[in-house]
Amino acid sequence: PPARAQLISDKSSGFLAAQEELPSELKPLLWLPQGVLRGGYALLPPLLKVLSEQGQQQWHSQGPRLQPDSRALRYMKRLYKMSATKEGIPKASKSHLYNTVRLFTPCWECKHPHRDLSKGDLHSVDLLFNLDRVTALEHLLKSVLLYSFDTSIPISSSITCMCHLSVQEHGSPGQVCPSISHSIAFSLHFEVRRRKWVELDVTSFLQPLIATHRRNIHMAVNVTCLVADPQEDTRLEHPISVALVPPSLLLYLNDTSEQAYHRWNSLRHRRKSPAWPRQRSSPTGGKGQETSQRA
C-alpha cells in the first residue's frame, strides 16, 4: 500500500539511509515494522540482496568497507569466543546482559606529546568518535575506553596512572572553540605484563551523551602515568606515552528490537508456548517417551 512506501522514504533513522543502496525492486520487500528498520540490522540488507538475482553482483560491487584496526579485531574475536560457542550459540551467563557490543576506533586523534618526568609521563590525545551505527533501539549498559599497549616497546611492568577525561561540546556551528561540557578524573593501577588491554569504565561519563543519541563525541583524554616501583630508573628509554595506543570506544548495549535475542524473553517464550513440538523420535525410544509426555 502507498502508506508503506511512504514509510520507506522516511529518513528518520540512519539505518534507512542504508536502504537506498538496495536495488529498486527490493524496496517493496523491505516494508518492515519501524522497529526493525531502526534496528540497524547489519544482516537484513544483504540477506534481501541475495534474494534478488543480481544481489550477488551488487553485493560484491558495493564499495569496500573500511577495514577495522587489527588490535580492535583481535579484541572483538576474543569477546566473541567468551560470549558464544563455536556454533555461534550465545552462552548463558549472569554477567552477560548485553546482546550487542559495538567497538569504535576514533575517526581522528591528535596527540599532544609532552613529557615532564617530575609529574610522570603524560599521554594526551583529542579523539572524535562517530556513533552513527548506534540505533535508537540500542540502550547503553556500559561504555569503556579500551587502551592497548604496543608490546614491542619495553616499558615498566607495573604502572599507576591518573586519567583526566573531558568532552568538548560544539554548541552553535559558528562557535569556534568548543566549551568543555564536563570532565572526570580517576586513577588506575595495572600490571602491564599480564594485560594487553586496559579498560577505563566511562559509563557514567558517556551515559547522558548516548542517551540523547549524540552522533559525534569529541573527547580529550590525558593520561599521566608514574612508574609504580621507585627502584626502577624513572628515566625510561621509551615513555609510556609512546607505548599507549590511542583508545577505542567499546559500547555494551541492550538492543530492544524484535530481531535481537532477549534472554529473559526466550525463558518467557518457552513457558508460554502451549504446543509440544514433536520430539524427534527414533522408532524404538521416542514412542514411550511421547506417551508419558502426552499423559
Binding site: A18, A42, W59, E87, G88, P277
Partner: protein
C-alpha cells in the same frame, strides 16, 4: 497337508527380527515424515566472509517431510491441523494439506564489520530451527 506346509516354509524363509521391525515400521511412520534436517553453510560460500567475521560455520537446519493425517498432539499441532486435513481430503482439495514447518528456534551470535569500519557483536533471535511441527 504337513508336506504342503513344509514346502511352503521352504519357499518363504522366516523373516529375521531386524527385517520384522523394518516391515512394521512402514505402518508406524510414513516413509518421509515431517522432521528436522541438518544443513550447514559457511559465510564464505555466500562470499560474505569479508564482513561476517564469526561464526565460521552456521547450521540453520530446516523442516521437511509429510504430515501424518492424524497429527493430534504428536507434533504439538493444534486441532485445526486435523480440520484442515479433513477439508483437504473431503471438501476442497484446493485447500493445502498441513505443512511441515519449524516450531522452535535458537539464537545466533554474529560478529560483523560495519561499513564505517566499526565492529559489532550482535545476538539475533530465531536464526536456527530446533524443532518441527505440522500446521
Amino acid at each position: 497337508s504337513r508336506r504342503r506346509r513344509e514346502d511352503k516354509l521352504k519357499a518363504s524363509p522366516a523373516t529375521s527380527p531386524s527385517n520384522l521391525s523394518q516391515y512394521f515400521k512402514q505402518f508406524l511412520f510414513p516413509q518421509n515424515e515431517c522432521e528436522l534436517h541438518n544443513f550447514r553453510l559457511s559465510f564464505s560460500q555466500l562470499k560474505w566472509d569479508k564482513w561476517i567475521i564469526a561464526p565460521n560455520r552456521y547450521s540453520p537446519q530446516y523442516c521437511k517431510g509429510d504430515c501424518p493425517r492424524v497429527v493430534g498432539h504428536r507434533y504439538g499441532s493444534p486441532v485445526h491441523t486435523m480440520v484442515q486435513n479433513i477439508i483437504y481430503e473431503k471438501l476442497d482439495p484446493s485447500v493445502p494439506k498441513p505443512s511441515c514447518v519449524p516450531a522452535e528456534y535458537s539464537p545466533l551470535s554474529v560478529l560483523t564489520i560495519e561499513p564505517d569500519g566499526s565492529i559489532v557483536y550482535k545476538e539475533y533471535e530465531d536464526m536456527i530451527a530446533t524443532r518441527c511441527t505440522c500446521r
